[in-house]
Subunit: 307 residues, 2 copies
DNA sequence: CAACATATATGAATATTATTCATTGTTAAT
DNA sequence: ATTAACAATGAATAATATTCATATATGTTG
């Protein structure tokens, strides 16, 4: 019999176009999904996906079910917000600390959505830089930290968001563009352009340059566009998340290269106090981030569960 | 996490107003439902039902979830019809034999619904009387029998519909109206008014009068209204399903009494050939009967699974 | 074209969880 | 007060979703 789990699977299948990727996103194995699909096809006596060479494609029947899934899952989200409202669980505050500067890019539209969905929740960004963002949760100054912290601490819950690759960004025609992959040494010649945050907060420096003993020169800029302008005008090179520069790459405003053979990857978590973790609107906030980010950001990958 | 099973339960809970009755209708135990409700309440951290004395009542949150359930379950029905259409499983024929005369009453509106839902399925009633209706299935003359047959036969599948009580129908002020419960002897004085079918097809005769060795006088009428007219004008008494005479009872056109201490009950099954059983539109037909009958017919009870 | 990497399918084993069973706790009726 | 009807609960069981290990299929690469 049809179950919501199947609809969630169909949805992921539709967005990823692959059983394995969909499985990862749902934190299940590829096998589990394969079995689910089989059950569905047996139940309805029709095929839902078609193997076209290497990946899979949804059949017309599959597409119809995806349509159903989208509708139903949205209806459920709406109903759950109503439930929260009915039981007085819809009011509160969500003061967010952003450890990752670029994250503004995807967080902005999500905040807009959230504000209209939860008008009674005060949504704010806690500005300024903080050496230990998670401590702000304990102090009660903030409610949510979006960052790379995942060390278990009593009273704190870390929800995994996703992991993404940080790419070196160069001006078109830059000599390093000839290389397919850059290494630590390649950063010793050019000016490194970063956000104005401490060195230890910059993954490239902490994970690549410092371990390799390479020295560097740095200048800062507040906004992503400013950094890209400097790079494009050959004032230096930068290291930014792949999804943050997609548009600029498409227009050949800048070019990007992998850092190190396996790439430089960064994990993103959403951390809250334990008492915040079970709030309906926090759960919805999380769900929205997951849904929207995986649907709109390129090249991000799911992260293992861990709290 | 919320599952469709919970929504089906909420729905049944809403319609029956009782955990036990809802459980029966879903062919589950009362305990199973009780556990389901508990899980839901724990998950959402709110109460869905409230024990008001003996039975249960839905809270506002519960009512919101019922709304969700109705919407979602209807969406699924629509989608499943679309699936059938997409995969060419939406055309065929459904020639119905009605063993129980009164069943016209509830079948009519269901047939209307079905016709608009499945325009490519030829829906017909096979007229006339048949000593062995199920044999018509094997002969290929009919596709569905609605009757009391439930004996396992190879190649035939019996789906249980519901069971209902057959009541004695009297004119208001009839002397037998003084009794709370009638027995076989009470039928020996008055004219018995029935549909024009063989005696063995009349539950009152087969199960009450014949076993008791009572003799009776009988006259027939084609339509339920005609039978009721005769009863109301004191030409005799009848035995009809409770749900078939509800309106007439409400207006005091006739009165009804139980037959025997435990009442006279009749079981209704829908029988098809094995190859018909898995057809999507047959499944939908069954679902519709169940849904509509339990929602609109008074005093019917679920039947045990059996095929 | 072989060898390999990648992606999906499948059967058996396992883990999870829904349901039942047996029982207790409530409430209403007689 | 006693009983009947209904709901809740904990433990046992049954059902089934998921994983694991492996096979199969399809591109890719040297």
């Amino acid at each position: 019999m049809l179950e919501l789990r199947h609809l969630r699977t169909l949805n992921a299948l539709h967005e990823t176009g692959s059983v394995s990727l969909a499985a990862e996103r749902l934190h299940l194995t590829q096998s589990a999904l394969s079995h689910q699909i089989r059950v569905l096809q047996d139940y309805y006596q029709l095929s839902i996906i078609q193997r076209s060479g290497h990946s899979v494609q949804l059949t017309d029947a599959g597409k119809r079910l995806v349509l159903l899934a989208e509708k139903i899952l949205e209806d459920i989200r709406v109903a759950e917000r109503d439930l929260a409202r009915i039981t007085q669980q819809a009011a509160g505050s969500l003061r967010i600390v952003l450890e990752c500067h670029t994250c503004f890019d995807w967080l902005m539209p999500i905040m807009d959505t959230f504000r209209s969905d939860w008008p009674a929740v005060e949504l704010d960004l806690v500005s300024g830089f903080h050496s230990d963002p998670v401590s702000l949760l304990k102090k009660g100054v903030a409610d949510v930290v979006i960052g790379s912290e995942s060390q278990p601490q009593s009273g704190i819950v870390h929800f995994p968001l996703f992991c993404f690759e940080i790419l070196a960004v160069l001006a078109p025609g830059h000599v390093l563009g000839k290389k397919r992959v850059l290494d630590a040494m390649d950063f010793s010649q050019d000016m490194l352009i970063t956000y104005p945050v401490p060195e230890t907060r910059i993954d490239l420096i902490r994970q690549v340059l410092m371990p390799a003993g390479v020295t560097w020169q740095r200048r800062t800029a507040e906004l992503t566009v400013a950094i890209l302008q400097l790079v494009a005008s050959r004032r230096g090179i930068a290291a930014l998340p792949g999804w943050g520069i997609r548009n600029y790459l498409d227009y050949n405003y800048v070019i990007a290269r992998r850092i190190g053979a396996n790439g430089l990857w960064s994990d993103l978590y959403l951390s809250v106090r334990e008492d915040t973790a079970s709030l309906r609107y926090l759960q919805d906030f999380l769900q929205t981030i997951n849904r929207v980010c995986f649907a709109t950001l390129d090249g991000i990958k799911p992260l293992k569960e861990m709290r």
